[in-house]
């Protein structure tokens, strides 16, 4: 099985969600380890949309993140249809849109990044990520049964 976490860039909120899923970080560990995570805040805007492999969990589920800007619902449908076209059956993949957990601070940080104001962008992204860890822990609890016990 493959799980695709969607957020605006595929390198912020969805990486945190993937790291929580894989047990790399927890609510207790906070945001100290975030910049150690592979791919966190490391984006090329031209590559947005390309799935990014984060790791494999203990159930052999492959975890990917995908950046979709503001079009998470459209791209969720597109992923579902494309994977069906490839020939996979329902239950062999799951798309989880974590955009509702995106903090405004992260969005502001991303906008600054576009203007090459990197230090300020990094500070805002870190603050945003701190809020997102809490939101995602609660948000992902709803999905835990379907992902872990598929």
């Amino acid at each position: 099985m493959k799980v695709f976490y969607l957020c605006r860039t595929g390198h912020h909120t969805s990486i945190i969600a993937a790291a929580l899923h894989l047990g790399m970080i927890s609510l207790e560990s906070g945001d100290n380890k975030l910049y150690d995570l592979k791919g966190f805040d490391d984006i090329e805007f031209k590559d947005i949309g390309k799935p990014f492999f984060v790791g494999t969990d203990s159930f052999n589920t492959e975890i990917y993140t995908v950046g979709v800007w503001n079009d998470s619902q459209i791209m969720s449908r597109a992923i579902n249809d494309l994977v069906s076209l490839i020939g996979l059956r329902r239950g062999e993949w799951q798309v989880i849109d974590v955009s509702p957990a995106v903090s405004r601070l992260t969005v502001a940080g991303l906008n600054l990044k576009k203007f090459r104001l990197k230090p300020l962008a990094k500070a805002l992204v870190s603050l945003g990520a701190r809020r997102e860890i809490k939101r995602l822990t609660a948000y992902l609890a709803d999905y835990q049964e379907t992902i872990l016990y598929h």
């Binding site: 799935p51 979709v68 459209i74 494309l82």
Partner: protein, 167 residues
């Protein structure tokens, strides 16, 4: 091969391109309003359906022809699709993505917005059909290039494989 024509809403330019590809619309004259409006999905999909990939039919080379509306995220959509083919280890030539947006004119934008977004099909549909007719030859040209480059190549490969099988 799967050929996916994509545009903003998957309701006008991509439907027209797919219909030309499948031979449902003429390539020697501009179709009538009736012919355009009778096409499946023409001026039908709503914004809640954007992102869905719809099968239109099979062409003469047995390629599957699809349409998709992906709003303004053409690059994201193509990156996503290419990434998925890599993840599932499919040959990249199995999917072909054709962006029909460069052939969309202001009449199609205005008509599409009023018909699909505002729900004023009585106003928008005639404007769209005028717009489609205005860009019709450009879309025909695009489809013919696709068929010459990819359809021919595919059929040549098939012939080679067939010849190899005979030997």
């Amino acid at each position: 091969m799967r050929i996916i024509y994509h545009c903003y809403g998957g309701a006008h330019s991509s439907v027209t391109a797919a219909a030309i590809h499948l031979g449902w619309l003429p390539t020697d004259h501009i179709p009538s309003n009736m012919e355009l409006e009778q096409l499946p999905y023409f001026d039908r999909p709503m914004s809640q359906e954007h992102g869905n990939i719809r099968l239109m039919g099979l062409d003469e080379f047995d390629n599957e022809i699809f349409i998709c509306g992906r709003r303004n995220a053409a690059k994201v959509f193509e990156n996503l699709a290419r990434g998925l083919t890599e993840i599932y280890r499919l040959p990249p030539e199995q999917f072909l993505f054709i962006d029909v947006m460069p052939y969309v004119n202001w009449k199609m934008v205005l008509g599409g917005f009023t018909s699909r977004k505002m729900g004023w099909a009585w106003f928008g549909r005639p404007v769209i059909t005028r717009g489609v007719k205005f860009s019709y030859w450009k879309i025909v040209n695009l489809v013919q290039r696709v068929k010459i480059i990819y359809g021919y190549k595919e059929s040549q490969n098939d012939k080679k494989e067939f010849a190899g099988g005979e030997a």
